[in-house]
């Protein structure tokens, strides 16, 4: 019996080994990536923690979706990859927009002299811009679309774009840009941009109203309907007319909302039955950018491949100061893109992401905001020279790419609050006392591992209007000491509190302690940070009560002004101070606009609002800078926000990944990435040698567990009745 058991175990082990080992022979056992197509350099990356929800440029408005859209589409404008401050460049069009200004009668006017009623942006599409190969462009022998069905059953065999055998392409046309803007206006698409853009683009609102009433049986060719503010001049030239003067519109043209959409692509995806198989423009973007989507499995991975029709584009030959010295121009002049393929795998858990990155199966630790802070915890150690890379990472040759985002996170005061709000000198002093008591530096060090810069104004680094050094500090909260900002003392805060009518944190009239209420999003705050805040405000005798709620309830409170102190954040759409200063513009208050306005503090100061209106229409220059500086000064004087910080993300790169400079605004940077494939293969092999002994140990343990049982069983079988 025992010998039979041992023989059985041996046979089972051999069979299992025979089944498994051949599969393990080609490279490391723990390699989670399937083989890359031969001859193609594949960038292995991650999408985390959720897959994109929308990939239609008219619908999408999220950074993790932009990561894909900006590789596939080319909007009219883009940004220089290396230069800082951020520099706008033509991308899908030949040159910067030719802007002309007209009065209400349509006559050309000098923008500095006359009243500007309209601004007309004229652009010419690049001659070599051409769409990726796609079945929507395929034609039959008679020149008609190859894949145009009237019956859902006719196209039933096509479940993915790769199922269509015939592909076609054509040059990008001016009408495609116009068509894309019409899609933004189509209420059926429910674009998040419609409400905002309708304020500027002439005729957009009326166009949208008109489309509400039309029948929706199948595809609606938007070319049949005219929008007043759009004009196709010729095959490659188009015009957009906007109301008044809005220089920031050029920045909007760099966003994916304005990417060209070919009408035949829209028609293709409206084939009957396609929607039921998720064959939609929302899942299969079609563009003229450096890459095209070849696989979209949002549950698992998204695969991009080089667009064979991508125009001639080259790595920049100039960069920001210091870029050349740091080797960032090593690929200057090379044809883009520098990789053939990019795979983005869905990774929800940090441990898996981090392990695969360290094993070399991901080229970078992440692509957009999200997990980097948690990854950062494991990556760095505190050494004698401050925070430095951990030993394991340093040995691996991993490089660090810090990214101070053009963003701000802040806790704001409700300026209409009866206790903390208002514009009297007492209320300002009260708010300043709270600002001083909240030690932002300590808060960031404890809870964000120092990954943030305390905000001295609403304008983050890299954006015109940000001032560094002594001139840039908030003098109500900081002093400039020994070449660095130093927070004013708690004694000063207490004095301000007393002058505000709250000596030692108690109301001078009633003797009641001052209690402040902070609305926090329950998922975004921990009990330890609440304890820390209790202690921070406790130093000046102020008590705190927290009102945790989910985002929906918090939003409701902001919309109704039912809050005292709230947390919020803002990530720039474009690198202009206007995109931050509007967070304090009076008409943007939700209580005034009766909408999701951005001025959640409900800050209303006529001087600020007037300055904002003037600044908004001015081109960059000294005059504009002066207005921005004055607005920042008003913000500081009124102490509108309790505190703010500019978030800093840390991205880690494996040693074979090159051109890792982060771009805070644009996601159109995949084409610059270069991979040393040979080094990657070598390192992966070296880092992932399996440890075999546990297999033997576990087998031995299993036998050790079973053997006594088998022996006892045999003994029992052989035992006599007496035994």
């Amino acid at each position: 019996m025992l010998s039979r058991f041992v023989a059985l175990c041996t046979r089972a082990t051999l069979l299992l080994g025979a089944a498994l080992l051949p599969g393990c022979s080609d490279g490391p056992w723990n390699n989670p990536n399937p083989e890359s197509p031969p001859g193609m350099v594949t960038y292995q990356s991650v999408m985390s923690p959720l897959p994109p929800k929308h990939l239609d440029p008219a619908l999408s408005y999220a950074a993790d979706e932009s990561l894909f859209l900006m590789q596939i589409y080319e909007p009219p404008m883009g940004y220089h990859y290396l230069k800082r401050p951020y520099e706008l460049l033509p991308l899908g069009v030949e040159d910067f927009p030719l802007i002309s200004y007209t009065n209400a009668a349509g006559e050309l006017v000098d923008p500095d002299a006359g009243e500007v009623a309209f601004s007309v942006y004229e652009m010419t599409v690049r001659a070599d811009a051409r769409y990726q190969p796609h079945p929507a462009f395929a034609l039959d022998d008679t020149g008609n679309p190859r894949y145009l069905f009237t019956d859902p059953a006719a196209g039933r065999q096509y479940r993915q774009i790769s199922d269509f055998p015939e592909l076609g392409s054509r040059p990008v046309a001016a009408n495609d840009y116009v068509y894309a803007i019409k899609r933004l206006a189509d209420p059926f698409n429910a674009s998040p941009m419609l409400g905002f853009m309708a304020q500027y683009i002439v005729g957009m609102e009326a166009f949208s109203e008109r489309l509400k009433d039309i029948s929706r049986d199948g595809w609606v060719n938007l070319d049949q309907y005219n929008m007043d503010g759009l004009e196709v001049v010729d095959e490659r030239t188009f015009r957009i007319t906007i109301k008044g003067r809005y220089p920031q519109f050029s920045y909007w043209l760099a966003m994916h909302f304005f990417s060209p959409i070919a009408p035949e692509v829209d028609r293709f995806f409206h084939n009957p039955g396609f929607l039921d198989r998720n064959l939609t423009l929302d899942w299969w973007p079609v563009g003229s950018g450096p890459f095209m989507m070849v696989k979209n499995d949002p549950n698992s991975e998204i695969v991009l491949e080089r667009n064979p029709h991508f125009r001639e584009d080259y790595f920049p030959t100039e960069g920001a100061p210091g870029d050349a010295e740091q080797g960032r121009l090593a690929d200057a002049g090379k044809r883009l893109p520098l990789i053939d393929r990019a795979v983005f795998r869905l990774e929800k858990e940090v441990l898996s992401l981090w392990t695969k990155f360290l094993q070399g199966y991901y080229d970078r630790s992440g692509e957009s905001h999200g997990n980097t802070n948690r990854v950062f915890d494991q990556a760095f150690v505190v050494g004698p020279d401050g925070v430095e890379l951990g030993a394991e990472l340093a040995e691996h040759g991993i490089t660090v790419a810090p990214d101070v985002k053009p963003a701000i996170y802040y806790y704001g005061f409700n300026m209409r609050d009866p206790v903390l709000g208002g514009y009297s000198e007492e209320r300002r002093k009260l708010r300043r006392a709270l600002q001083i008591a909240f030690d932002t530096e300590e808060y960031l060090n404890i809870f964000y591992k120092g990954n943030g810069i305390p905000a001295q104004s609403p304008i983050p680094p890299g954006i015109p209007g940000f001032v560094d050094g002594e001139a840039g500090i908030n003098p109500y909260v900081y002093d400039w000491v020994d070449g660095a900002p130093q927070r004013k003392s708690i004694a000063h805060a207490k004095q301000l509190l007393a002058e505000a009518g709250y000596p030692n944190g108690r109301d001078a009239r009633t003797g009641e302690p001052l209690k402040i209420f902070i609305d926090v999003q329950s998922q975004a705050i921990s009990s330890t940070s609440m304890n820390w805040m209790d202690r921070a405000f406790g130093r000046i005798g102020v008590q705190v009560e927290y009102r945790p709620a989910d985002w929906n309830r918090t939003r409701e409170k902001l919309l109704t002004g039912n809050t005292q102190i709230f947390s919020h954040g803002w990530l720039a759409d474009y690198p202009d101070p206007e995109n931050f200063l509007f967070l304090l513009y009076g008409p943007e208050s939700p209580l005034i606009c009766q909408c999701d306005g951005a001025n959640n503090a409900s800050y209303e100061r006529p001087e600020y609002d007037e300055l904002f209106r003037q600044m908004r229409v001015l081109p960059p220059g000294a005059e504009r800078d002066a207005l921005v500086a004055r607005m920042v000064e008003l913000y500081r004087e009124d102490a509108v926000w309790l505190f703010g910080y500019y978030p800093k993300d840390i991205y880690l790169n494996n040693p074979w990944v090159h051109n890792n400079k982060r771009h805070g605004i644009s996601k159109n940077t995949l084409k610059y990435v270069r991979i040393d494939d040979e080094l990657r293969e070598r390192k992966r092999e070296e880092w992932n040698q399996p440890v075999i002994w546990p297999l033997y140990a576990m087998s031995a343990l299993l036998i050790a567990l079973l053997l006594p049982g088998v022996i006892a069983y045999r003994r029992r079988l052989r035992a006599t009745a007496r035994q």
Binding site: N30, F196, D282, N299, E349
Partner: protein, 325 residues
């Protein structure tokens, strides 16, 4: 039996309506259609018009339960609840809030769930039964008492510990298998080894202890003594006599789970990156996608009802004395 099955299926209809009503009510107590629209549209530049457009496009521009502006039956039928619920009974799950066809997604994601859940289930049952029978063979000895102690210890450890511990040891430290992922191209099995192993090991404590109790009850029966007196070997007694007689309580706990295997496991799928229905549900909850949550709860209810029905039917197979009427 046919009449019994039909009757049980008819009973299922009010249960499904009730479950759907409950899900609908609970979801919309927390989220209004406006909240859903805002969360789908993002938190920048969201205008009331954009919210209205989104609601209209996705069919949330009607009253929840009662439409006083409609006439007659329309007061009930021209509502979000009616619109969204009736289609479910025709297995038309509609589209998720992000526009994807739920039926297609469910059909696609069901297989990865099954690829992990089925081997875990089968291997788990096999291991648990074998371990339990072995312990029963040595009942009353130190081996039995030691095994019970180990079972209780295994039961006391959190499932998360098994997952993270397994990932840390097997995938990160020993580098024997990928830490997570799932691919149908090539070697699928190497992504399944670790989740299945974790699932089986995590279930041994509770499973083997439960089966041990069942088998012990049978082990003291007269027919076992008779079999032993007839000279049957211990293995034969365990597998040919005790096991078949303990099947009824085993089936009660096991068969009901079989249809639910399609639904996957929230934790395992999430941690091991398996693109199955468990992670589908979790993502839907996180992104407040009511259409998916509602559909998944509905499918889950149906599978549970089917599981209970199969359990009843399996009794007749395990014990011919049982009659369904």
């Amino acid at each position: 039996m046919f009449a019994y099955i039909v009757r049980r299926l008819i009973y299922a209809i009010p249960i499904l309506v009730g479950v759907n009503l409950l899900t609908f009510t609970l979801f919309f107590v927390v989220n209004s259609p406006d909240d859903m629209a805002a969360s789908q549209l993002g938190d920048k530049y969201v205008t009331p018009e954009a919210i209205e457009n989104w609601k209209q496009k996705n069919g949330y521009d009607k009253p929840l339960f009662l439409n006083p502006q409609a006439a007659g039956v329309g007061q009930v039928t021209d509502t979000i609840f009616f619109d969204k619920s009736v289609r479910l009974f025709a297995f038309d799950f509609g589209r998720s809030e992000s526009g994807r066809d739920i039926t297609t997604d469910v059909a696609t994601r069901m297989w990865p769930s099954l690829a992990v859940a089925l081997p875990t289930f089968l291997v788990g049952i096999g291991v648990n039964i074998c371990v339990a029978l072995m312990v029963v063979m040595f009942r009353g000895t130190r081996l039995d008492r030691g095994a019970v102690f180990v079972f209780v210890a295994l039961m006391s450890i959190s499932y998360l510990f098994y997952i993270i511990g397994g990932q840390f040891l097997v995938a990160k430290t020993w580098r024997l298998v990928p830490i997570s992922g799932f691919h149908t191209e090539g070697q699928v099995w190497k992504f399944l080894i670790l989740p299945v192993l974790v699932g089986v090991v995590a279930g041994i404590g509770a499973g083997a202890r439960w089966y041990r109790t069942l088998f012990l009850e049978e082990a003291n029966q007269d027919y076992v003594r008779t079999a032993r007196a007839k000279g049957c070997s211990e293995l034969s007694i365990l597998f040919r006599h005790i096991l078949p007689n303990a099947l009824i309580p085993i089936l009660t706990g096991v068969v009901v789970l079989i249809p639910s295997l399609f639904m996957g496991s929230l934790l395992i799928e999430s941690f091991f990156g398996i693109p199955g229905l468990g992670s589908y549900m979790l993502d839907a909850i996180n992104s407040q996608d009511f259409a998916i949550v509602r559909s998944m709860v509905f499918i889950g209810s149906i599978l549970y009802i089917v599981g209970l029905l199969l359990t009843d039917i399996s009794y007749t197979w395990a014990d011919p004395r049982v009659r369904l009427s």
